[in-house]
Amino acid sequence: MQKPDLQITQHNDSKTILGFWVYLMTDLIMFAVLFATYAALKTSTFGGPGPSELFSLNGALAETLILLTSSFTCGLAMLAAHRQNKNQTIIWFLVTLALGLTFLGLELKEFSQLIAEGHTWQKSAFLSSFFALVSTHGLHIAIGSLWIVVAIKQIYSRGLTPFITSKLTRLSLFWHFLDIVWIFIFTIVYLMAKV
C-alpha cells in the first residue's frame, strides 16, 4: 500500500508546483505591465528632476547584492531541507529573512529620502510609475518575509515532513522569482537612468 500512496503524493506535488508556477507567471505579467508603464512614463517628469538626478546607484547596488545573497542562502536552505537537516534549514531561512528585511529597510530609507526631498508620487507621472513598480516589488518582499516567518515556525514545530518540504519548495520559487524581478528593476530603473 505504501508505494502507490507515495506516487500519488509526488504526482500531486508536481501538479501543485505547476500551479504555483502558473501563479508566478501571471505575477510576472503584472510586473510587465508596471515595467511598460514605467518605460512609457519615465520622461514625463512634469518639469521635475528625472531618473538620472534622483537615484543613487550605490544604494541600489547594495540592495541588489543583499537580495542576490538572500537568494543564495534560500538555495542553501533548500539544500539543507533536502538533506533532512532541520537545524541548518532553519538557520539558512533565518539568514534569508534577515537579508530580506535589510533589503526592505534600505528600500524604505530610499523612499523616505525621496519623499523628504519632496519627490512624492503625486509630483509627476514618472514618479507615480516609479513608486508603483518598485513598491509593488517591495510589497512582494514583505509578504515573502512573512511567509518565511511562518515557514520557520512550521519547520520548528512539525519537522521536515514531505508536506512541509513541498511548501518550502514553493516559498523558494517565490523568493528566487522576486530576485529575478529585482534584477530587471535594477537594470531598467537604476542602471538605465545613469546611461
Binding site: 504526482h11 501538479k15 505579467i29 511598460a36 518605460a39 530587471f184 537594470t187
Partner: protein, 93 residues
C-alpha cells in the same frame, strides 16, 4: 556586473547592461528555479514561454504605441517634433 560598466561611463553601454541582465536571468532560472527538471517540465516550459511571449507583446507594444501617441497627440509638442525630426519649417507648408 553591469554596475561597474555604468559607473565607469563606458560608451555604448545599453546593449551591454541588457545582455548582462538577461544572462543573470538565465543563471537564476537554471540554478535556482531548476527550470527543465522535474516531472512536469514540459508544462512548466510551455507556461514560461507563453508568459514570455505575453510579456514581450505587452512591454514592446506599450512602448511602441505610447511613443507614437506622444509624437502625434500632444498638441503643445507636435510643432516641436515636426521641426526637430522631419526638418520642416512651419512657413514652408
Amino acid at each position: 556586473m553591469a554596475y561597474f560598466a555604468v559607473a565607469n561611463h563606458a560608451p555604448n553601454i545599453l546593449p551591454i547592461i541588457l545582455t548582462l541582465a538577461i544572462i543573470q536571468l538565465f543563471v537564476q532560472l537554471i540554478f535556482f528555479l531548476h527550470v527543465g527538471k522535474g516531472s512536469d517540465r514540459i508544462w512548466n516550459l510551455v507556461v514560461l514561454f507563453s508568459t514570455v511571449g505575453i510579456v514581450l507583446i505587452l512591454v514592446l507594444g506599450s512602448i511602441w504605441i505610447m511613443g507614437h501617441l506622444n509624437y502625434n497627440m500632444t498638441p503643445g509638442q507636435v510643432q516641436e517634433f515636426i521641426l526637430k525630426d522631419e526638418s520642416l519649417m512651419p512657413d514652408m507648408k
